[in-house]
């Protein structure tokens, strides 16, 4: 088929899809004006409209590896679910199905999350779900995926959440351990979010790389706040009662059932089925920190039961034995977060964050940073004095102001501090790779990398 011919077919195809199926024959009759070949062409393509979602539901490689099963989505594209129009199924897992959708009232992209039916199969569970959703929606923090609304479709409640693009830390970890600077940046953002949530009495309960999202244009976001509570709320699990011979640990494992993938990040108190508090999240974050800096998890068994055993009883291999690039201080932080007794672990997220932050800017460099600021201020003072004395003429006409982008950092490496030199010729700024002084006119840059395993902030 020639390109021009296809353009015509495409145009009619699109127009047909925009009108309801019943009116299509009449439309095509008229539009094709007796050109039977054209009409057959359009109709034969329209026949596939209903299967378009099943075809290529995920990238080829993900289908091969079974990343997302290739069974069709529950909701087809363009279906209206309340005020939301489904765009595509974007994820499926133990926590249900997530769809990209459009809020037609506010005209914005959202994500709809339908929890697995067994989460909300009793009136009690629905009440619990609503109560938890209320708590989550009160969390307003840049590092927490915002919950906009609660919806219900055919009796099944769903969450309406902020739509975020990027990749999960789990995906990122497929390439092995992260650089220490990046690991610190990610985990201290998680700490910040946890601090805010814990202050409001919300415990995440399922901190793991799959729930930590690195957005493509901005900060780290934590997903699924508090949802694990719905899963772990005591339910008379038949296995647990039948299996009275099993040890208490075993029955916890059975009750946790389908969520076994997360066992590696559970805290000891969680593994024992006890009540958890904020400190449990900090243990899980410690496991994450260990994982991102060493590339391996601290507690790992062939079976979930063995993993739980390791969490309860084994001492983790010191991180620096796995990766000697880890600073001694960071190793201490990780091991403190991984203390089995929560009374000797980090007590608050703020405490852990402060330790991480201190590491991001070591004392000796804080001194040098102050020195750099002093030099900048001094030179500013000298310039101002010179201007007053008339050595340097201040511009006599109003300058022609222009907005210019001088730096071009990727979103994962933002510039926390920058300053333009008094003469306007240079820009000094810091990022993860160091301190830079750039000539604004030529772009010529002199860089000073930070000492190993540190970064400026």
């Amino acid at each position: 088929m020639a390109q021009a011919e296809w353009r015509r077919v495409e145009e009619l195809l699109e127009q047909s899809m925009a009108i309801e199926p019943a009116r299509r024959p009449a439309f095509l009759e008229q539009a094709c004006a007796g050109d039977e070949g054209l009409r057959r062409e359009v109709e034969s393509l329209l026949a596939y409209e209903g299967r378009v979602e099943q075809f290529m539901p995920t990238p080829a490689l993900d289908m091969l590896s079974g990343g997302i099963a290739s069974e069709p989505a529950r909701f087809p594209e363009a279906q209206e679910v309340g005020p939301y129009r489904i765009v595509a199924l974007i994820g499926r897992g133990g926590m249900g199905e997530v769809y990209q959708a459009r809020d037609t009232r506010l005209d914005r992209d959202v994500a709809l999350k339908f929890l697995p039916a067994h989460y909300v199969d009793t009136p009690d569970a629905v009440v619990r779900f609503r109560r938890e959703a209320q708590a989550i929606s009160s969390l307003n923090h840049p590092n927490i995926c915002t919950l906009y609304d609660l919806g219900e479709h055919e009796g099944q409640p769903f969450l309406v959440m902020e739509r975020i693009e990027g990749e999960s830390l789990k995906q990122r970890l497929a390439g092995g351990a992260l650089a220490v600077g990046e690991a610190l940046s990610i985990t201290s953002q998680v700490c910040d979010a946890l601090e805010a949530a814990h202050t409001k009495g919300v415990v995440h309960r399922d901190i793991k790389p799959a729930n930590i999202f690195i957005t493509s244009r901005g900060p780290v976001k934590i997903l699924d706040f508090g949802l694990a509570k719905l899963r772990s709320e005591p339910q008379p699990a038949p296995e647990a009662t039948l299996d009275s011979a099993a040890s208490p640990h075993e029955s916890t494992i059975t009750t946790l059932g389908r969520a076994m993938g997360t066992a590696s990040y559970m805290s000891p108190e969680q593994a024992r089925g006890e009540d958890v508090d904020a400190r449990s999240d900090l243990f899980s974050l410690g496991v994450v920190l260990y994982h991102v800096t060493t590339g391996t998890r601290p507690f790992e068994g062939d079976t979930p039961a063995k993993t739980v055993e390791a969490i309860l009883a084994s001492k983790p291999v010191p991180p620096r034995l796995r990766n000697s690039a880890i600073p001694v201080k960071l190793e201490r932080i990780i091991l403190k977060a991984l203390e089995k007794d929560r009374a000797v672990r980090y007590q608050t997220a703020g405490e852990l964050r402060a330790d991480l932050e201190r590491l991001r800017m070591p004392a000796s460099w804080r001194g040098r940073w102050l020195l750099a600021v002093a030099v900048l201020l001094l030179s500013l003072g000298v310039t101002l004095a010179a201007m007053r004395l008339g050595w340097i003429g201040a511009p006599s006409t109003t300058p022609d102001l222009k907005v210019r982008q001088v730096t071009n950092n990727p979103p994962e490496d933002p510039i926390p501090r920058a300053s333009i030199s008094p003469d306007g010729a240079s820009l000094a700024y810091v990022d993860l790779t160091g301190l830079h002084v750039r000539r604004i006119d030529t772009g010529e840059t002199t860089s000073f990398p930070p000492p190993e395993n540190c970064c400026f902030r």
Partner: protein
Amino acid sequence: MEEASQRDITRLLQDWRKGDQGALEQLVPLIGRDLRRIANQRLGRAGQADASLTATSLVQEAYIRLLGDQKVDWQGRAHFFALCAEIIRGILVDHARARYAAKRGGGAPHVPLEEALGVSEERAPNLVAIDDALRELSKIDPRKGRVIELRFFGGLTVEETADVLHISPDSVARDWRLAKMWLMRQIDGAAFHGAS
């Protein structure tokens, strides 16, 4: 990977974005060699990938290995991913063709849509049929061909695809839909003619 060649790749990516086609010719073998090595390691002999292997993780892994933690701007990353899409397509389709050749004694067979859809017992999409159909599509509508390649083989999101092709996300979504309908019919048609 030595640091010198990481810098080379960054420079080549920049040159390529500025329109230097010579840079592309040097980039493809550099990136391809590494992607192929990672994919081969993880696809395994049976062509059955391990469960954590996704397009995103493969590209990410290649990216980290080739460019380290060097900072490349967003556009640079998008172009790198776009390039990977093409290479991944080659790797996967070669794998699939080789498997068919081994199983049925040569030639790429035409298969019904059900199999291409992944309903077959292997659950894997029939990449040979998809690749053949995609070639035909690219002849009459190159842009739709690229959209399929970027999204299906490269795992790019709608927004990333839009960035690479310099079109709006809406156009990408429209192209994606229409192109898939066209491909499905093409695969069905090829299976029918192949059987007759």
